[in-house]
């Protein structure tokens, strides 16, 4: 069903867990649909210096969360914002067709965390 890459990220999720005092955070999805993703980021010099996720969802949801954090880490915010669902899915060697909606959440969660960081900056700045 899933590629080896997906199973690798599912089994050994990267950057999973909580973060104290994140600079930006997001939560997308809802439990009714069976998919929730939270992303928290630390930003230093306009770069994502640390990132953490938590996910309630299927194997694809976990793997795309993990993958998006790995791809975003150490990228500038502008670079990170360019990450698409497609790119995440491709980095995982593809997802089953019925699962393509899951990868939508990961890029969305990342974008929202960046938005949250920017909104905070604006409030504080």
């Amino acid at each position: 069903m899933y590629s080896e890459r997906v199973m690798d990220h599912f089994t050994n999720p990267r950057n999973m867990g909580d973060m104290e005092d994140p600079d930006g955070r997001s939560q997308v999805g809802n439990p009714t649909c069976g998919d929730i993703m939270e992303i928290a980021i630390k930003v230093e010099d306009n770069r994502i210096s640390d990132i953490r996720f938590k996910t309630f969802g299927c194997g694809a949801a976990v793997a795309t969360s993990s993958m998006v954090t790995e791809m975003a880490k150490n990228k500038t915010l502008e670079e990170a914002e360019k990450l698409t669902n497609q790119a995440v899915a491709e980095a995982l060697d593809g997802l089953p067709p019925v699962k393509m909606h899951c990868s939508n959440l990961a890029a969305e969660a990342l974008q929202k965390a960046i938005d949250d960081y920017r909104a905070k900056q604006n409030r504080e700045g």
Binding site: Q27, G34, C58, G59, A61
Partner: protein, 389 residues
């Protein structure tokens, strides 16, 4: 890696004796049972012996009350559509329940949407059980057929079929039961139950896939659902699947000979697994009825986690189970059965069904009880919904 198959509610391993019984009908007695010649007559002997075995297992009055089909789903379609279409001048109202298998639900919905029938879907209590009082109340002047499953495939709850069938009989309503999960794993007696039609499927009790049967009490009229030749006394067209039918017959024979001993063994394993989960994992929801329950069915929801992830994690340990999570159902909603018992979407997404058969062993139960708590904990650690107390 150890391999522990606990998805017998989905399908079972074919019994080696079943396969052995089938083999000569592929290579030697491969004739068409409708044929005059020796090849055909040998095949016919086989299918009629199998028909008799099905009859015996469910205690039908006559082997001619058994119609062979291409599986449980087809048997349900034949019972419901075949009966409804043949009797629609008498009325166009059907009664079923909200916890039926899709083979029944989607058939009823089709008759509703495309054929001008109206259907009442009876609710269930928190155990997934239909009430006879609700049923009696739902019966109308124009009700011709009720179809209520005997054992629920997801949560294992057994319906009070005998009582429901009595109500139906009193009210002159024909009564069908989808017994696909019950036949072969617990005693089923169509005459004692008083049902008019009953569906069963070979692959749920160590027979082959792609073959099932519909019991139709003498005197009940129905249209064929698969139109074709004169097979099965013109009630089901199509060349007989001889090896499949032989296999089904053999599975019935084995089941008959080994019940109730096997039922007791499987139920004991089930109860041990239930207890092991309850004792070792917090915040679980037990699904289905605690006593009125299929011998092999264990079903829990694990709060804060999602079912497919759980299945994948179990699979990595060699454990095969299933889930009512949306992700495994091909739809966006979790199991209609779990929702019908009153669970929230969130909790329902975290369901795990482990279904046992005569091939499961005690050490497999131990293995699952050993592995499951760690897996659940790991997934909970990953879950944004979980706040460790």
């Amino acid at each position: 890696m150890k391999k522990v198959y606990m998805d017998n509610g989905a399908t079972t391993r074919t019994h080696p004796e079943v396969l052995q019984a089938m083999e000569p009908f592929f290579l030697e007695n491969y004739g068409n049972p409708s044929s005059v010649h020796g090849f055909g007559q040998e095949a016919l002997k086989g299918t009629e012996k199998a028909r008799d075995e099905v009859k015996k297992l469910i205690n039908a009055a006559d082997p001619q009350e058994i119609i062979f089909t291409g599986g449980g789903t087809e048997a349900d379609n034949l019972a419901i559509t075949g009966y409804a279409m043949a009797n629609r001048e008498r009325g166009r109202h059907l009664i079923t329940s909200v916890v039926e298998h899709h083979a029944v639900l989607h058939t009823c919905e089709y008759l509703e949407k495309e054929m001008g029938f109206s259907v009442t879907y009876l609710p269930v209590d928190k155990y997934g059980m239909v009430s006879a009082a609700d049923f009696r109340e739902a019966i109308r002047e124009d009700t011709i057929l009720a179809t209520i499953m005997s054992g629920n495939n997801e949560i294992g709850t057994l319906q009070p079929i005998k009582e429901l069938a009595r109500v139906a009989r009193e009210q002159g309503v024909t009564f069908h039961t989808d017994a696909v999960q019950s036949v072969g794993s617990m005693p089923v007696d169509v005459q004692d139950w008083g049902v008019d039609m009953l569906s069963l499927s070979g692959h749920k009790f160590h027979g082959p896939k792609g073959v099932g049967a519909l019991y139709v009490r003498r005197g009940i009229k129905l249209h064929p659902h698969i139109h074709g030749g004169a097979q099965e006394k013109k009630r089901r067209g199509g060349t007989h699947n001889t090896p499949g039918i032989i296999g089904l017959g053999k599975a019935c024979e084995l089941a008959r000979k080994n019940l109730p001993e096997k039922e007791k063994e499987v139920s004991a394993l089930r109860d041990k697994l239930i207890k092991g989960i309850q004792d070792n994992i917090d915040e679980v929801v037990f699904n289905g009825h605690p006593e009125q329950r299929l011998p092999g069915n264990v079903n829990f929801c694990f709060r804060y986690i999602e079912g497919e992830s759980l299945l994948l994690s179990l699979d990595l340990e060699g454990i095969a189970g299933s889930s009512g999570s949306a992700c495994t159902s091909g739809s966006l909603d979790p199991s209609h059965v779990l929702l019908a018992t009153g669970l929230s979407h969130e909790v329902a997404h975290g369901s795990l069904r482990l279904t046992l058969s005569i091939f499961n062993e005690e050490e497999e139960i131990d293995y699952v009880i050993e592995k499951l708590p760690g897996i659940v904990e790991k997934l909970r650690q990953m879950s944004p919904l979980y706040q460790k107390s």
